[in-house]
């Protein structure tokens, strides 16, 4: 089963929830798909690195001896990653989405595919938890190929996917294929506005969902009215607490220091399983 933890607004507590859930359970895989800013692994300081793999994307390579400069490749490329000049073909690798169309379009079979690194995938173990995360190369713009590769490592019986913030392509790629998505929000106007967008995305994707309100007690009550009106299950609340915030700031999973919360997270998993089936 794959449970993704997403949010819309950043900083609502996705990683807090994903790591707490993992730390409350036995034998889980924690997969951090926030490849721009992966943080979940930081909360497992005793982790032992198992392996590191490079993630590459295909990019075109032109055999100039066969190329007739006909322009079929650049005419085809909708991302403008190739430009055919009278004497040569220019390739802009950072614009290439790796669709492979230029090679198919080339009548002279002058285009083959090389590869370009976009990031790395790390795998580590901490106790009974396996942690997998991707790290996007600095300066790289496209996240989805790496997210897809990181998610491809999910093979456990129970996988928790920590997603990037937002509601667009990175988030869609990270949550796609989940059996359930838990949206973490905070009871503020910003939290609610972005939660609404995230819920609309999940509705389009037909992924079962529920909501966890973090930092409850701050802000206002509108998120509760919203959830009630829409009939969306509120699965857990974590109250605003200086202690939780301080533990988080140091990189400690708060359920380790406040073990009564482990039962609550196990209860959360039970509720999620019921809602997903």
């Amino acid at each position: 089963m794959i449970i993704s933890i997403a949010s819309g607004k950043g900083g609502t507590g996705k990683t807090l929830v994903a790591t707490s859930l993992a730390a409350s359970l036995d034998m889980v895989q924690l997969v951090d798909c926030d490849v721009e800013e992966p943080n979940a692994y930081l909360f497992f300081p005793d982790r032992e690195l198992i392996d590191v793999a490079k993630c590459s994307v295909p990019v075109p390579e032109v055999d100039e001896s066969r190329c007739t400069k006909c322009g079929a490749c650049s005419d085809f490329c909708s991302h403008h990653a190739l430009a055919v000049l009278p004497g040569q073909v220019l390739i802009f690798p950072e614009l290439c989405h790796g669709c492979g169309g230029c090679a198919l379009a080339c009548p002279e079979k002058a285009i083959s595919e090389g590869s370009r690194p976009v990031g790395e995938i790390f795998r580590a173990r901490s106790g009974k938890t396996e942690i997998i995360w991707g790290e996007l190369r600095l300066g790289e713009a496209r996240t989805t190929p790496l997210i897809r590769a990181v998610k491809g490592m999910a093979k456990g019986e129970l996988t928790i996917v920590d997603c990037p913030p937002g509601t667009s392509c990175s988030m869609v790629e990270a949550v796609s294929g989940s059996d359930f998505c838990l949206l973490v929000t905070e009871p503020t106007p910003f939290g609610l506005y972005d939660l609404d967008i995230a819920l609309k995305v999940l509705e389009k994707m037909k992924i079962p969902r529920g909501v966890l309100v973090n930092k409850s007690g701050i802000g206002d009550k509108k998120v509760y009215q919203y959830l009630e009106n829409k009939g969306i299950p509120l699965l857990m609340e974590i109250p605003m607490s200086r202690r939780v915030a301080e533990l988080y700031s140091r990189g400690t999973i708060f359920v380790q220091e406040m073990p009564e919360w482990k039962d609550r997270f196990r209860g959360l998993l039970k509720n999620i399983k019921e809602l997903a089936s």
Binding site: G10, E37, C99, L138, S176, E246, S249
Partner: protein, 284 residues
Amino acid sequence: MKQIAVISGKGGTGKTSLAASLAALARGRAVIADCDVDAPDLHLILRPVIKEKREFLGIKMAVIDPSKCTLCGSCEEHCRFGAISDHAVNPLLCEGCGVCKLVCTAKAVGMVDRLSGYAYISQTRFGPMAHVDLFPGEEASGKLVAMIREMARETAASENLELVLIDGSPGIGCPVIASLTGVDLALVVTEPTISGVRDLERVLGVTEHFQIKTAVCINKYDLNPDVSSRIEDICRENSIEVAGKLPFDQTVVEAMVLGEPVVQLGGPAAEGIKELWRALETYL
């Protein structure tokens, strides 16, 4: 005309609350651009009145005509984005490359424009604002960020304003890079947590990669003074100025609930932001 982008690496460090206050402090001098296109919240504080609306056409999308489709499956086989299944296109996964159209021998695939959202030029009580309404799940491409920034620059030029203030998105990927291109200053908002530190290091790597002048603001610096001083060390080592240190202050959330920039309410965070603004003015 100068451009400042407020970014963060880690989400939820206070970019938008800070940007709203900077907009208030720059009243009458700046155009505000909300470039956090897939979680845009600045409008909740600035309450823009829309003056002009433009369509945003995102990437093209493949459409399969079932009356022509011979169910050969060639499109699905060649699509590298997993966007085709059961001879139909999933718009959320389609990247608009057109490979399916290229390989379809029955000419059943067409590439169509898709309306992905709207971009607006609006008026707020602090000045003009460029912002978007991106439909849920659409690609938040650099193309849209570039469009918003262009609209903001046009407005600044026509209204003779000296500053474009950009509220960016979290992370270091496509929309962030598009928000940073060509700005005069990146203001990175961070917080004293181990996630904040790691994310700050990565985002500083990106501003360095693109050779963009950078300053840092530590929000809630008193939450963990040890981690805050580590952040200051990192900034010193990279010759980056810590332009502001804001204390934890409940007024920030109160202001958000009231739909006002926190500098309008006062308090310790507001004082810190005013000091930060004075530091930023020396850059301009």
